[in-house]
């Protein structure tokens, strides 16, 4: 803690080139993506170059932070700043998902019934969408994307729910092991968590293949396909990131970066993992079951 009588002990880094690298990476990624979508030939390669620069930036930036941390340059106040940074970052992620959940609820609660003639929508329904009966799932009055079937909740999605919930238990066991100094138990249970994350992703990929190949359920299947794939897709992306983060943390544990009292890197990733877990529970409930 910084105290009035103590010397200046807050670590303020003196300049860093990584943010500049990150800016170039982000700019290249975004310009590349925009040109790719506009079918400009160099867009796609530029996008991948930008992503590579961003990965290089993360490697270097996190590396700097890890080295400084191992040298003992951080005090508990810096630790609190990192914790707040991670907490508010996760809050921003929650709000990002909230936008898509909001779209799902709005479509189900309002736009579909209105298209079906509820409330003030009677004449619109009569003149524009005559014969459209509101229901969920739906791909709208024009049946955009053609007839489709949905993924039953009580098959693979239930399995994936159990997998993610189990991974929440294993990472907690790993955390307790870390705090108790049980190194082998830590590595085993953290490794199990990575494995469960990978299995989840495998089943999710299987589910997508099934949807596209056999159920005709695609991103273009009207508002059902849109909300289904955007919600589960962004969630899957976050599980992917979380799994990579867990794997990195596994190697850092193996290298002995963490002590019983100082392992914020581990905790940050654990928080993130619980966040993707909770989002999945929301998805399972509102996308698959209801």
């Amino acid at each position: 803690m910084a105290t009035a009588q103590g010397k200046h002990i807050y670590y303020v880094p003196h300049g860093s080139k990584w943010p500049a690298v990150g800016t170039i990476g982000l700019f290249t990624t975004m310009i590349g993506a925009a040109n790719w979508l506009n079918e400009v030939s160099w867009g796609k390669p530029a996008f991948y170059v930008g992503v590579a620069i961003l990965l290089f930036m993360m490697w270097g930036w996190f590396g700097d932070v890890i080295r400084e941390s191992l040298k003992g340059m951080y005090n508990s106040q810096v630790d609190v700043s990192f914790r707040m940074g991670m907490m508010w970052f996760i809050f921003s992620e929650i709000m990002f998902f909230a936008a898509f959940f909001g779209a799902l609820f709005y479509a189900r609660m309002y736009s579909i019934p209105w298209l079906g003639g509820e409330g003030d929508g009677a004449l619109t329904n009569f003149y524009l969408h005559s014969g459209y009966a509101p229901a969920w799932p739906t791909n709208g009055p024009d049946a955009i994307g053609g007839a489709f079937q949905t993924i039953p909740a009580w098959g693979v999605p239930l399995l994936n729910t159990l997998i993610l919930l189990t991974s929440g238990v294993t990472i907690t066991v790993a955390h307790h092991a870390l705090r108790a100094g049980h190194r082998t138990q830590l590595l085993v249970f953290l490794g199990l968590t990575v494995l469960l994350g990978a299995i989840f992703l495998f089943y999710q990929a299987e589910e997508y293949i099934e949807a596209y190949q056999h159920l005709n359920l695609t991103l273009g299947s009207g508002v059902y396909g849109s909300t289904f794939f955007m919600l589960t897709g962004f969630h899957g992306l976050h599980v992917t990131l979380g799994t990579i983060m867990l794997a990195v943390i596994w190697f850092r544990c193996a290298k002995g970066h963490f002590t019983k009292d100082n392992h914020f890197g581990f905790e940050a990733v654990a928080w993130y993992w619980h966040f993707v877990d909770v989002v999945w529970l929301g998805l399972f409930m509102f996308v698959y079951v209801l």
């Binding site: 200046h8 003196h14 990150g22 975004m30 310009i31 609190v80 990002f96 309002y110 736009s111 849109s226």
Partner: protein, 543 residues
Amino acid sequence: MATHAATDHHHADHHDDHDHKPQGFMNRWVFTTNHKDIGTLYLVFAFIMFCIGGAMSGVIRAELMSPGLQFVEPYFFNQMTTVHALVMIFGGVMPAFVGLGNWMIPLQIGAPDMALPRMNNWSFWIMPFAFTVLLCTLFLPGGAPAGGWTLYPPLSLQGGSSVAFAIFAIHMMGISSIMGAINIIATILNMRAPGMDLLKMPLFVWTWLITAFLLIAVMPVLAGAVTMLLTDKFFGTSFFNAAGGGDPVMFQHIFWFFGHPEVYIMILPAFGVVSEIIPTFARKPLFGYQAMVYATASIAFLSFIVWAHHMFTVGMPLGGELFFMYATMMIAVPTGVKVFNWVSTMWKGSMTFETPMLWAIGFVILFTIGGFSGLMLAIVPADFQYHDTYFVVAHFHYVLVTGALFSIIAAVYFWWPKWTGKMYSEKWGKFHFWWTIVFVNLLFFPQHFLGLAGMPRRIPDYNVAFADWNMVSSIGAFGMLCTPVFMFLILWHSKKHGKTATAEVWEGAHGLEWTVPSPAPHHTFTEPPVIKASMLAHGDPTH
């Protein structure tokens, strides 16, 4: 990351380099982690963006000076209105406040720097590149976005190549804003000097804390909304397509769930600035300090439940219209608390009217006009008449120009001597103010009349019945276009020839920022200050 309490392994060179600035342009400005340099970068960037956005408004007002089409094609006119708004909101007002926050928050709470200095650098440097992505669309085939800054589908999706560029530019701005806001929250909650309790913080710090919360809560929602636009255009989704079961109105709901808190993101820090300046020049403590804090928090809370007042005419159930009308009107209560507290602070004060005080008083009066027209717009049946007319344009320019922008200018004059160690010319500062007061009202006040008479917004041509007031408004605009030049010259002259400023700068100034020398050294509060009652603007440190 492992951390070790109270270690002394930190850089030994860090103690005695109070004014040791990094050598070379790249080290000083591109790789910087210094909150003051990053604050300066933000402010310079915002100034450039204000000039670019101002030039676009010049095109708009030149075209509207008289009926008929004079200078530009209608489609280009639409690009100007769209990009003017995006540049002013995301490139001007928001970065200007982040710059002020960067400069002043660590100084006001006695912190050595921002909590996460490297991320602070990244937050800034994303911005020029984000606006490169946005502004380059002006030179693409099909031009810049032209569907209005609110990007309503289906119109916004009918643009040319610009759609993807605009969306990715907004993503970059959002990433920057979220990181900046996280940094500000972590700084305020974690970096305060001992004795700087939450309810002793300057109001500028309080308003920024709440603003940062709003930013983290709503910028991701905007990111989600524009991502849905992107997938609707390029990947065949049907979020905003009724044929697929979606609804274009759904975009408006999601957008304004971001958009209304965004309004307060642009005005709460302004409230903070004014709450610093008025007590200084009234030589009295701020009236109702705690009420000001709670009013700010109330406004922030209410800002989440009023969004649909931007879309009363789009078609909503009656219950929705009523709820959003009454919720909107409730915002007048905490806002009224603020206005009355500023006035009460001035009551029987030993007032002097230096340039920052003039801008602050101008803010109180003219922002209140914007608040009243906002109340008028909140009334559903009246809004059916006003919606999408110049009345709306007049309203939000009163709150954004004579509100947010006035407070930014006030803050720059107020803290400039602290930043540079030089006083500006009072005479020319006052000239800048009075010139602006005349022309800003010529520019925007007639737009109320035009709107009430039925002139629609976002059109390049209009009925001759509207000609006179449009002429007046355009004359006001041309006067306003001179003001950045004045400000630049005044500040340039001050930097070169200004009188040396004292540490306290203003006779009635209280707060930690006035206890450090002017100009503020490159590093301040490397050791936490011992706070005495006289240093605080609010509250007694012994309690």
